[in-house]
């Protein structure tokens, strides 16, 4: 059976070029980067190279990139580190209702420990209103955290404008750039971003490694305590093969940026167009303007997402639901809720994310399967466009 992976925002396969550079660091070049002998120093050099590769992708100075165990740790470090460093200045954080749980659950934890958090709404296109954001600032505000690009609906937030507001008010600005990295241009020399979270496995690198960009001069407290690794900012023996792989993945992402964006957006646009034209009662959620090149988030009325997901899986196609029904939680997506989608329609929403290895044949195969599946499930459904909800 044909296997079609359309969940590149969940994770990506490690590219062969990436795996090849990683492999020697498991059992040949295994030295601890903190060791002073040659084997260790070679490992240290490999990390220095990777730091440069990641920095180059976001147009930052290598000294501003600190490796972590992934996007979640980077988000946690940014929030906890900023709150601790600035506790004498204030206790107010401004974020949005559509952040990743790595931010939202960290904010909930911080609320239990004395922080006040403002969760901004988004408009029907999926964007934060910068005037609302500025209006939410108080003299206690110490941090603004707004994601660069949303993982479910793919919309890009007005990071440049938010950065200018943050700078004007002297407030730290963190952005979760996990989904943005490699998918839209990130030029930190032209943005007033103080902290940016990154993850390797979304850009064809290995899982379990990420980074936090900390702008030169920005002081946040440490989060992982221990040894002197990462210039005493992030303790723990480095994930050497992971970091080497992340570096290579970042280098490839930069090299192939234009072709990657064109490839994904061509296939995505073709897919969205076909779905909306061929399957009635379907809607694309959030704007196409300024969006992740490979993201399509589509509601299929009168059917339920997990039933579609399972049926697609039976035909070798991997997608994810906008609804959390397939996971352990039955709570509908907080992002689609914030977008104002009615709950019954959230239940019928799928996210398709296209990537470098997706082919037009994959998309055509998916379109045919999807059309048949939606038709079949609509026959089973007691609700329809004639009967209504």
């Amino acid at each position: 059976m044909r296997q079609v992976y359309l969940d590149y925002s969940a994770t990506t396969p490690v590219k062969k070029e990436v795996l090849d550079v990683m492999l020697p660091y498991f059992s040949e070049k295994y030295g601890n980067p903190s060791s002073l002998y040659t084997l260790g120093q070679e490992s240290k050099d490999a990390i220095t190279k990777a730091r440069g590769q990641v920095a180059s992708l976001i147009n930052a100075d290598p000294a501003e990139v600190f490796f972590t165990a992934g996007g979640t740790e980077s988000d946690n470090w940014a929030l906890f580190g900023a709150v601790d460093a600035l506790k004498k200045k204030g206790n107010h954080i401004i974020t949005t209702k559509i952040e990743h749980h790595a931010i939202l659950h960290s904010c909930e934890f911080l609320e239990k420990h004395g922080c006040d958090v403002t969760y901004l709404d988004i408009d029907c296109e999926g964007r934060v209103n910068v005037e609302d954001l500025e209006a939410a600032i108080t003299d206690k505000t110490i941090l603004i955290s707004v994601m660069f690009l949303n993982n479910e609906i793919g919309t890009v937030q007005p990071i440049k404008e938010i950065g200018e507001i943050a700078k004007k008010h002297g407030i730290l600005f963190h952005t979760d750039g996990v989904q943005a990295l490699g998918n839209i241009p990130i030029d930190l020399k032209s943005l007033n971003v103080d902290l940016l979270s990154m993850s390797s496995h979304k850009i064809y690198g290995p899982k379990g490694v990420g980074a936090l960009y900390v702008k030169k001069g920005v002081k946040i407290s440490n989060y992982i305590h221990g040894g002197a690794q990462e210039i005493k900012r992030r303790a723990g023996t480095e994930n050497l093969p992971g970091i080497v792989g992340f570096g290579k993945a970042a280098e490839l992402a930069k090299e192939n940026f234009d072709s990657h964006v064109k490839h994904c957006s061509d296939l995505r646009n073709y897919f969205v167009d076909k779905v909306l034209n061929n399957i009635p009662n379907t809607y694309l959620n959030a704007t196409m303007d300024g969006r992740h090149p490979g993201n399509a988030n589509i509601t299929f009325e009168f059917v339920e997402g997990e039933a579609m997901l399972l049926s697609l899986d039976m035909q070798g196609i991997s997608v994810s639901t906008g609804s959390a029904c397939s996971s352990a939680s039955l709570v509908p997506s907080h992002v689609l809720t914030a977008l104002g989608i009615p709950v019954e329609k959230i239940h019928g929403t799928l996210r398709f994310t296209f990537g470098d290895f997706t082919t037009k044949e994959d998309v055509d195969y998916t379109l045919e399967a999807l059309t048949n599946i939606v038709n079949k499930l609509r026959q089973i459904s007691p609700v329809s466009s004639e009967k209504g909800w």
Partner: protein
């Protein structure tokens, strides 16, 4: 490891008795699309025996499988026997459901009762097995089915 066993997948992919009986003797719906699951069961009754049952379901794989097996269990049974079907029986017939999906079997159990309730109303009959059953309890159930912890608790009680 798939999230559902083969029997659940079979009833999901090849649902039995899917559709709607025209001029049904009883028609019940339970749940709501807002909750993520809604089931409709229609029945044909002759001499107090359910001679045909069909379902339509908006919901996940286990909701479709639960309503499919529910109709299989109903057909050929007397009304009293059909009312004695429990959600536990539905789960057992399916060879088990993941914990978070147990509420689907509860919905199917209630959809059976909702269809029989409608039949009882139309035919002016009373059945002991319908005592305390509220066909409009969807709103209450909404809270139960959509709240993971509440569902886990209530399903334990139902079992």
């Amino acid at each position: 490891m798939a999230i559902y066993n083969e029997k659940v997948m079979d009833h999901f992919m090849n649902p039995r008795n899917m559709g709607e009986i025209e001029n049904a003797d009883g028609k019940g719906t339970y749940g709501s699309p807002v909750c993520g699951d809604m089931m409709q069961i229609t029945i044909k009754v002759e001499n107090d025996v359910i001679v045909d049952a069909k379902f339509k379901t908006f919901g996940c794989g286990s909701a479709i499988a639960s309503s499919s097996i529910a109709t299989v269990l109903m057909v050929g049974k007397t009304i009293d026997e059909a009312l004695a079907i429990t959600n536990k029986q539905i789960v057992e017939e399916l060879g088990g459901l993941p914990n978070v999906k147990i509420h689907c079997s509860v919905l199917a159990d209630n959809a059976i009762k909702a269809a029989i309730y409608d039949y009882a109303q139309k035919s002016g009959k009373t059945y002991a097995g319908l005592e305390g059953f509220d066909p409009n309890a969807e709103e209450d159930h909404h809270d139960v089915a959509c709240d993971e912890e509440a569902c886990g608790g209530s399903c334990e009680k139902i079992k």
